[in-house]
């Protein structure tokens, strides 16, 4: 366990001391800022027809952040170590493969959540300016962040897997992006399909990320998407672990 924290701290520090990390934070802060502008415009229309968090969600920037931050954050995790060669020093240290995967994913997740902090600041500011207590509802903010964390966890685990596949960071980001966007578009694929009863339509219909996320921003926490995202995330982390162990059957 001590080794997990040692690795976790190094990985997280690597985000915070390199330019890439700050560029990602700046880009996300910029996009959240843009959606903040949208939000303020919405507030001027009285009464506000939606929850604050839902307005945030309905701006186009939300999905850009979720879909693109995952691949960009995770692309370096394994690919960079492979390219530089530090993968060899890392994997010949007395650390279990599972610890390495968990620490890298954990650090990516922590950084991803740090990146979302400006959203909280924006909601806080709104509450301060408007003096409207409805602007900041903690349960709503909590469920929104739960949704963001779950979606992020899934996309980051895909990114981990993609990064473990190759030594090229670009390729890792592209593969992760492709996986993420495909999953996102899956729900639209069956939108207009006739035949509600067909099993595959129902399976694909379960992947309506857009609906799930809207529920979270409205404060509706449904156990089904929680289980879905949690298990998919574990599945991709398992694949990552297999890839890391893969050097053993190379």
């Amino acid at each position: 366990m001590a080794q997990f924290w040692v690795l976790f701290r190094r990985e997280l520090a690597a985000y915070l001391v390199t330019l890439t990390g700050w560029v990602i934070m700046a880009a996300v802060a910029f996009l959240i800022g843009l959606s903040f502008v949208d939000l303020i415009l919405a507030v001027r229309r009285t009464p506000l027809p939606l929850h604050v968090t839902e307005v945030f969600y309905q701006t186009p920037y939300f999905w850009i952040i979720v879909l693109f931050s995952g691949p960009v954050i995770t692309m370096r995790l394994f690919a960079q170590e492979r390219a530089v060669g530090t993968y060899e020093t890392l994997m010949t240290s007395p650390v279990r493969d599972g610890t390495v995967v968990a620490a890298k994913f954990g650090a990516a997740m922590a950084f991803y959540l740090i990146v979302w902090v400006p959203l909280m600041v924006c909601v806080g500011l709104l509450r301060l300016w408007t003096g409207e207590s409805r602007a900041l509802e903690w349960p709503l903010l909590g469920s929104t962040f739960l949704g963001i964390a779950l979606l992020g966890g899934l996309f980051l685990s895909m990114g981990c897997f993609a990064s473990a596949l190759t030594r090229s960071q670009t390729l890792a980001a592209m593969v992760a992006g492709l996986l993420g966007v495909s999953l996102f578009l899956l729900s639209f694929a069956v939108d207009g399909v006739e035949g509600e009863g067909m099993w595959w339509v129902r399976v694909l219909g379960a992947f309506t990320l857009v609906d799930h996320m809207r529920d979270f921003t409205r404060g509706v926490v449904d156990l089904r998407p929680v289980v879905l995202y949690g298990s998919l995330m574990l599945f991709f982390l398992y694949l990552t672990l297999r890839m890391v162990e893969g050097r053993q059957w190379k």
Partner: protein, 326 residues
């Protein structure tokens, strides 16, 4: 625990697809020894070391470190090895001291012990004055020492160094070599190189690898004795040139000879014996018999380089396979 051998490698074979990187390699290394793995690029040195360090599995064969099987007790083995891979990869964004503490903690040292050990290896490797510098800004020599410090930080029984002096200038090579020599006794060291004088100066024993097989092993002196073939004798004799010529031609013990004039009426004669005998007592006897004057009589030493070139059969210098396998 009193395992006689620090490293025991039995019939180790590694294939990458259809390419055989090492083939039936067997050797042992005793505790406290410094052993050099020698061979041209692509001979299988790095592959052997990676298997020992637990990074790659062998296709066949077994390797044991301090009595633990590399494949079955990988974690135990990794705890006992300090491994520095080829090209010494490091994290450029970290500071020297920070990196070493991170590595020490990763290798299972407690926070306090890590801090103590980092102080020791900083001192030992001459890194004290650069301890707060970013690794990415260090010179190659310092980076190499950071790699060595990393290999030493958890006081491993076995230190495995892949090309520790590659790309360094002569001063740096010297200091690294001194450092490695200082490890003998307390640690066992396995290092790879393709620079012969280096191996000769640093190692107690050498293994010569070629195309994935062990060609020869022994101390530098043993290798020299065993592999230098016929023992040429060099003699400087003052005598009439014609007399010498006819004498060597008539001598049944001398298979071939060369002669060149030296100063003061002396001639340098290089004599190749027939068979494996040592010609020196014979030459002395002949000189006394003939009433010549002798001022030098020696057995010509083959340098390790001659032996290596002969063994690896690459006098032309064009190594067959430049790239070492991943």
């Amino acid at each position: 625990m009193s395992e006689p051998w620090m490293i025991e490698v039995q019939d180790l074979t590694k294939r990458y697809g259809s390419r055989v990187a090492i083939h039936g390699v067997s050797f042992q290394v005793a505790r406290g020894e410094i052993v050099g793995l020698l061979g041209p690029n692509g001979a299988g040195k790095s592959t052997t070391m990676r298997i020992l360090a637990g990074f790659l599995p062998a296709t066949f064969g077994t390797a044991r470190v301090a009595g633990y099987d590399v494949a079955l007790d990988s974690l135990e083995v990794r705890r006992r090895i300090g491994y520095m891979p080829e090209n010494n990869p490091l994290y450029p964004e970290m500071r020297v001291q920070e990196y070493l503490r991170f590595r020490a903690r990763l290798k299972g040292l407690s926070r306090r012990r890590a801090r103590e050990r980092v102080e020791v290896v900083l001192e030992q490797c001459g890194l004290t004055e650069v301890r707060r510098r970013l690794i990415g800004q260090l010179s190659k020599g310092y980076r190499q020492r950071v790699g060595l410090a990393d290999a030493l930080v958890h006081e491993p029984d076995l230190i495995v160094l892949d090309e520790p002096t590659i790309g360094l200038d002569p001063h740096q090579i010297r200091s690294v070599r001194r450092l490695i020599k200082g490890l003998a006794g307390r640690h066992t060291v396995l290092l790879s190189t393709h620079i012969l004088p280096e191996a000769e100066m640093t190692c107690h024993r050498m293994l010569i690898l070629l195309e994935g097989r062990v060609l020869a092993s022994g101390t530098p002196a043993e290798l020299e004795r065993r592999l230098s073939g016929s023992r040429q004798v060099l003699a400087e004799i003052a005598a009439p040139e014609e007399g010498l010529r006819s004498f060597w031609n008539a001598c049944p013990e001398v298979a071939a000879w060369e002669m060149a004039p030296a100063d003061d009426g002396f001639h340098r004669c290089l004599l190749m014996p027939r068979g494996d005998q040592d010609l020196r007592p014979q030459v002395y006897a002949w000189v006394r018999e003939q009433g010549w004057t002798l001022r030098e009589l020696s057995c010509r030493r083959y340098s390790l380089e001659d032996i290596y070139v002969r063994l690896t059969g690459q006098e032309g210098g064009g190594a067959s396979d430049e790239d070492e396998e991943d």
